[in-house]
Symmetry: C2
Subunit: 231 residues, 2 copies
DNA sequence: TGAGCGATATGACATATATCATGATTAGTG
DNA sequence: CACTAATCATGATATATGTCATATCGCTCA
């Protein structure tokens, strides 16, 4: 991890209207001056489960995973998050600790705002507080929702669901590079690495996707949708 | 569902200190006067997924389940909640709709506070707002946590985990009546009714629990803990 | 009070998924 | 550039779990 040298500000941030457009000039100055920016490379851990929450994290670019490690040392990925999502969960209001770990799955730029500053702004600007709240609760809602979707499917349906997730939510394209290893896909949808690989190979053999290493092309979108809906 | 006739107030509520002790007399009057109380019997649906959120619900006595119905009509229970837990999720701040259904699994008394009133108090009393926020985020945190615990175990471990949950979190006793059917247990821990029944029977045959209909007695707590930790 | 339905129970069998083994390929690193 | 370790890949087999069938029990309500 290293500090970013890029000159930037919340004002020019593309995600500004998601969050900061309700701040007064003074509030904005407070937030922006306390703000640090960090760059993490693929694999780097941004926060560990149990770390104290002392800042408000905001994903500027890249892709991260939220995950928890179980008692056997096996990781379970809760969600993949892209810019615009909040990383810090609601726990930041209870001044608690992280309930899961956060790692970069590709080069990722993170904004870091001191929690004391954020609290100050939140307590004086009601509109902003509500905005923060909304964005944050979305993260947990999404986790619960996707876990629900995963647990009602079996292997093929889960893989299909995951491919649709990448197609529609992450890349908005039928062609993309898998951002995570097959092992991580397994950790995300609760199945073994072997079965993940096997199922992707099967999809390829059946001609509904093409696959060259990490590069995937959704050839038969409707068929994948069908598998996601029935498997 | 029927209105409760019991004379009660937030002031004398046993859960008062969890939430209402930071209200001024005036705020308290506002909340308490808008407050309605309802009683639901076992099986009654309190809210359905998709219902608009127009009130703040608070569980006074009884036990409820939060659940979602999948595309095949199968229910998946997200959590069992007891008094002191908040039913309304954070979505109440975005004035949205329920993301899951809520049903009573035993006779349950629910306090219902008009959302407009709650918003008013929240926007003027910061301490209260934070309190509400904390209690509400706990519900989603708990759901995510328990789903994580379930998904890392297999059948026996899940049943053992569920028995420990009832023992430690719900009844605080080694002897209790199962609040839900075997089918619902399956819906909670993602397994079939048959396997749920089989596993409970096996635990009984092995002498680690006694079981007479819905009445369970944890005979060998350490053994169950062991199964929960390794299975 | 008894007809009927859901819950509990259990066995036989089918199937999904995990595990283990073994190579080939790829990516990172000195 | 070569070495090492991770990733990807696939088959054989074991195991966990689901499915289907059938029976009893015990409510609930007409």
């Amino acid at each position: 991890m290293k500090p970013s040298n890029e000159i930037s500000s919340c004002k020019t941030c593309v995600y500004r209207k998601l969050l900061f457009d309700s701040l007064t000039e003074e509030e904005y100055q407070m937030v922006n001056s306390s703000r640090k920016e960090f760059i993490y490379r693929r694999g780097e851990i941004i926060r560990r489960e149990g770390d104290p929450i002392d800042s408000f994290l905001y994903l500027r670019s890249g892709l991260i995973k939220l995950y928890k490690t179980d008692r056997n040392g096996k990781d379970h990925i809760l969600s993949l998050n892209k810019p615009g999502d909040f990383i810090s969960l609601l726990s930041i209001f209870s001044n608690s600790v992280y309930k899961y770990s956060i790692a970069a799955v590709e080069e990722t730029k993170v904004c870091d705002i001191d929690l004391v500053i954020l609290h100050k702004v939140v307590s004086t600007n009601n509109k902003f507080a509500l905005r923060v709240l909304n964005r944050m609760s979305k993260v947990s809602d999404d986790i619960i929702e996707s876990q629900f979707e995963i647990r009602q499917r079996q292997v093929k349906g889960r893989i299909a669901f995951f491919l649709l997730f990448l197609t529609n939510k992450i890349y908005r394209s039928h062609e993309f590079r898998l951002p995570i290893t097959r092992r991580e896909i397994g950790e995300l949808i609760s199945m073994t690495t072997e079965n993940t690989i096997r199922t992707l190979s099967e999809f390829k053999k059946d001609g509904i996707i093409s696959m060259e290493g990490r590069t995937i092309n959704i050839l038969d979108y409707e068929r994948i949708k069908g598998i996601s809906n029935t498997g």
